[in-house]
């Protein structure tokens, strides 16, 4: 009976959090990572298109192609967004999550080239999704920040 009263409310919250299928991720991190994945997809696809259309030229011929300059522009946007993401989250948290762009690149190339997505590819997509799910279970920020904001108020995992 009295057992529940003794459990600190934060522990109850922690329990509720860990039993949920998806951990709550702060909106700023979520948005930043989404933008990063979209821009990454654009960079990869347009870069490959630039390489393909200059296949008969030298390696440096690619750098003169207009598509390559689109890639550079996307890349600068990507950089600004990425620095913002890293202000709030661990590198070892954010970077693996951007692997979702492998899925978007794969699906988009299949759509553009009118290819069917094969069984191994569906398996691959599933594995990447599972991997990202595992990473999303961890605290986004494990290094205690000096700005006064506790990086992980729920589990305290960031405290040394």
């Amino acid at each position: 009976m009295g057992l529940l009263d003794k459990v600190p409310s934060s522990n109850l919250y922690k329990k509720a959090e860990s039993s949920a299928l998806f951990k709550r991720v702060p909106l700023s991190i979520c948005l930043g990572l989404s933008v990063a994945i979209i821009l990454d997809t654009g960079v990869q696809i347009f870069w490959k298109m630039a390489v393909d259309s200059t296949a008969n030229e030298s390696v440096f011929g690619t750098f003169l192609h207009p598509l390559f300059w689109l890639v550079v522009a996307l890349f600068l946007l990507q950089l600004a967004n990425w620095l913002k993401v890293l202000e709030n989250a661990d590198l070892s948290y954010s970077q693996p999550i951007t692997s979702l762009s492998y899925i978007s690149v794969g699906v988009l190339s299949a759509l553009i080239l009118h290819e069917h997505i094969s069984i191994p590819q569906i398996l691959g997509i599933t594995l990447v999704l599972a991997g990202v799910w595992f990473i999303s279970r961890t605290d986004p920020n494990t290094v205690s920040s000096v700005t006064g904001i506790d990086p992980s108020p729920i589990t305290g995992g960031g405290l040394k």
């Binding site: 870069w47 296949a55 190339s109 595992f134």
Partner: protein, 119 residues
């Protein structure tokens, strides 16, 4: 064969350079005690790594099909995890390792078929 091995060596270089570049970006975005962001030297270092990586990666794309090269590039996730632990003192929970290994397997599978090897 030598050409393929050289391409694989280039992929390894490119992933290592990328991981170091990411560390630089994280250093730039980490606030100091005064609440300031990191030095612009970190940003310059990160961009420098990216430029070198872009040149190396361009060579890779000319030698290997992207369906082979791109999954191999995902080895950078492992490099980033190692360097984050060593240089940034981030806490790498077990779930992060599991996640990265799953992502690695997934990207290999994603690259398996599509078009055959580029000659």
């Amino acid at each position: 064969m030598i050409n393929q091995l050289f391409a694989i060596f280039l992929v390894a270089c490119s992933t290592t350079i990328e991981a170091f570049g990411q560390i630089c970006f994280k250093k730039k975005s980490t606030r100091t005690v005064d609440g300031d962001l990191g030095s612009n030297m970190w940003l310059a270092g990160g961009i420098g790594c990216m430029i070198v990586e872009a040149v190396v990666w361009n060579c890779v794309l000319h030698k290997l099909n992207v369906s082979i090269a791109y999954p191999m590039g995902s080895l950078s996730f492992v490099m980033v995890l190692l360097l984050s632990k060593l240089l940034l003192k981030e806490k790498i929970q077990r779930e992060r390792w599991i996640g990265v290994v799953l992502i690695l397997c997934g990207t290999i599978l994603l690259g398996l078929n599509s078009t055959g090897p580029n000659t």
